[in-house]
């Protein structure tokens, strides 16, 4: 079975690195983008199993990218995990109930929790 792919879109280089190292070590194929625009450009070529998506990014933010993914039927199988640093309940409402993300986590997070969340969404 081919490896599951995870696409990390976050403008914080430290978080990108932390996630990339740990997700690779857990056996996932990892790709990254430094902001929403780069994320949108790479999406179709990558067609990842899961996108880990930061909300607050310059240019094109996580909500917009989440909507772009959900509006695109060719990406209907892609699971979305939102990373947010804001009001928990309201962001959950926006991310999951309005834009159709599958999961959300609040920054700062434990890396083990994030790995578990990715596993829940796409498997090992």
């Amino acid at each position: 079975m081919p490896e599951k792919s995870v696409f990390i879109v976050d403008d914080d280089p430290n978080i990108r690195e932390l996630l990339a190292v740990n997700l690779s070590a857990a056996g996932y194929t990892v790709a990254t983008a430094a902001d929403g625009l780069e994320g949108a450009e790479k999406l179709h070529a990558l067609r990842p199993h899961c996108v880990v998506l930061d909300v607050m990014m310059p240019g094109l933010d996580g909500w917009e990218l989440c909507k772009i993914i959900r509006d695109d039927p060719s990406l209907s199988a892609t699971r979305i995990l939102m990373l947010t640093a804001r009001d928990r309940e309201r962001d959950r409402l926006i991310g999951i109930d309005i834009f159709g993300a599958d999961e959300y986590m609040v920054k700062p997070f434990e890396i083990d929790d994030l790995l578990q969340a990715v596993r829940r969404l796409v498997g090992e």
Binding site: E64, K67, P73, E89, R90, I94, D97, I98
Partner: protein
Amino acid sequence: MPIAPGMAAGGAYVYRDIDLAALETKKFVIENIGAEIERFDVAISKSKEQLRDLRAGREESSWGEVEEIFDVQLSLLEDAEFLDEIRELLDAQRLNLEHLIALKIRQVNLEFSKIADTILRARISDIHDTYHRILRNLLEIDHVRTRTLQRITTPVMLVSERLLPSDLAQIDVTCLLGVALDEVSALSHVAIMLRSLGIPAVGNAPGLAATIRSGDPLLIDAEKGLLVINPQPADIAVLDAFRERQRLSLTSEPQSGGHATADGVPILLAANAGSLAEVAEAMRLRADGIGLLRSEMFYMSKTALPTVEEEERFYRDILALLAGQPLVVRLLDISAEKRVPYLLMRREENPQLGVRGLRYLFEHRDLLERQCAALAALAGGEKPGVLIPFVTTPSEIGRVLAIIEEDLRRAGKKRSDLQVGIMVEIPAAALDITPFLRGIDFVSIGTNDLVQYLFAASREERMLDRYRCPVHPVVLRLVGSIVAACEKAGKGLTVCGDMSSDPFSALLLVGLGVRSLSLQPHAISAVDTLLRSVSLDVLKGIAAKALEAGMVEEVMALQKELRG
């Protein structure tokens, strides 16, 4: 269903609006009410700022009164009653604002869905637009929506569940080859805007946006109301032929009204309208002037009572567009369910049988006097017509005529400078019209209301649709008797209402002796086409058979004869 005429082909761009439905069910408790109120205030001022920007951007455009839509939306955001109601709800329930406002929207929808007037119902989307804007600003996600629309930078066929005036204001319209919508009324602001922009559009096909994928090749034939997914060479050939016809028509003389039967009997096909944009649209569609200008639509587009001068100016602007074609203005026809925000209305158990039209004007004589003064000022040159709505007894007409005559005298004009008519929509008037004809110049039969009252079947109840049948022999015999009475008394007669907009019913009316119809602008072409195909004698023959029919099914069977 055709929304805006023309044909176009290209790749689809499916636009999905942000779905806020979840807000109705998702709620959470708010601890810090002060902070929540602050969020509300910020969202309201942001919404106002956006609307002011939209309005400023549109002032230069050719979309007529579209900026007034944004004015009405701004006035909603300044409505202290609405704002306080939300604050009080928050205080009492301590739940998140998004949830409370979503419930409020549901309540407004419910109230609007009960409204019989199709034009008013079509305007619900403008109110939606405002409330959804507040919600998006509360959630700080408005940019997601505007940017989704602004990303349309190459020519596309736009497909969506619905579209709002503020959406069109965000899009680079030169990129819109054609538009297909799940939900749209031909009378909505968006439909009018699309027509004035010359963008072919079709609508009212639920599930469209869910079926089509971005990039799918599409062809819109708005002449036939068709949307073709993956058009074949034969479809493209039809499009090419259409483009060729268009090219030829650009180099030939524009056609004037000149509507007539196959044997050349002229029939006046005027239009119903409520705004400058609709009048312009009607003229483009070859209307013989405006047979029913709903003045309440002008009042509704305002945030405060217009002055007599403003109202007069509005009519003058319309007369300028009409360039000599006739104009008939109906005095305010409002009721407890068809409200103007700044006018007082009392609640009524049954507004359709309550204080509406002339009854309301008698209770608010200042309004009646203001309207008569504005119309008297126009009298003379173009000889506009004034139509008195909801007349129940002949004596009521005398009271209005006294006001009109006084205004005309004051303006130094004669009674004959202004045509005065009455709406015939209450059975008491329709069944014995002759006493009503004294002192007036013409009558206009409002078939929608007349039929509702004749069959005791409310226009608000979709379940009762089957009872409200305008081509029922009872209605036709009644119309026939009014035609005869008007002919005998030498009075003009027009039929407005949906009956005039349906080609078969319209031609039955011509067969009954009606020579003037006022219809929805987009129906003119279809009525004209059928009219040209048949002679008056044939129509008279069909009408005679219809008058003798016992059941409505017999009348409907006559359609075959007409369509040959």
